[in-house]
Symmetry: C2
Subunit: 153 residues, 2 copies
DNA sequence: TATTGTTATACTCTATAACTATA
DNA sequence: TATAGTTATAGAGTATAACAATA
């Protein structure tokens, strides 16, 4: 008489993901998705998703930056930036001005509204770090940032 | 007479992304994209993208796992897993068998072909870690994994 | 000839609602 | 009534090719 636990096709009680959890790629992706979903949630009050936030941030810290420079800095493809810039311009967060010495290029500048919005948004982003990394000490957060940059920079 | 550098609308020589580089979310996303693009490149020989690799890995290490369990473990929505499972089944990498004591569920099992493929793919994935993290010591890789898990687990 | 910005478009990934079969 | 698997579909994100204007 077979014991009750003997089955030719057993069921899985708890899924073992220990192998995947040893891989950098798996952990980086899972962590990034967690951080980003919290970012989306808390930045909704400013009407900014992560990409819009980073574009605005680069424009505020680099007034006059061109689309090409933005694309290179943020790893965005030029066709995908066009609609983004138009959206931010329509919201009066940025302005497009002629480039000082390249007739092909256009400089992107923050408006007063854009600067005011980002001043608040960047404070929120900083507070969000603490919340997202609540299980990490400030020292560990700094270590994490340093190690991540060694991968992509 | 104005100096040549005096411009009302100056150009940006080099884009300053130092603010964004202090944010966990920005770094996690950029690092994840770098790691994943290398993974895609090196796993193409097996015909597996990152999601297919993780599904296959969980099935191999948890024979009989159900779709629901897979979804919960890998953070995939059930409708998006359906096509994935069909694809892997068509490639004879997994098999669907009746669940031992739940008529609604279906157990996913690796075939011999699937197990053989994943044995090789997991070796490649391990080698890829070393390549992707060439600027990190084994100790730093371990630290990075631990810190990332504190965020999403 | 090369580059900036742009349009059009396709492909992938992700998300939601609703259905069926079973518990 | 709740859950597993599925279908259909919508939306977001990402990709390539090609064009006009300027360098």
């Amino acid at each position: 008489m077979p014991s009750p636990t003997k089955k030719s096709v057993p069921a899985i009680d708890e899924v073992d993901t220990s192998y995947l959890e040893t891989l950098i790629g798996y952990n980086a992706r899972r962590a990034a998705l967690t951080v980003i979903s919290q970012f989306v949630e808390h930045m909704a009050v400013y009407g900014l998703n992560p990409v819009e936030f980073s574009v605005m941030s680069v424009v505020v810290h680099n007034p006059g930056v061109t689309s090409r420079q933005l694309c290179a800095a943020l790893n965005i493809l030029p066709p995908n930036l066009v609609g983004l810039v138009q959206l931010l311009e329509n919201r009066r967060l940025i302005e497009r001005k002629p480039h000082p010495h390249d007739g092909r290029a256009v400089g992107l500048h923050p408006t007063q509204i854009g600067e005011a919005l980002m001043a608040k948004a960047e404070v929120t982003a900083r507070e969000l770090e603490i919340h997202t990394c609540s299980k990490l000490t400030p020292n560990q957060i700094q270590t994490l940032v340093t190690l991540l940059q060694k991968i992509y920079l």
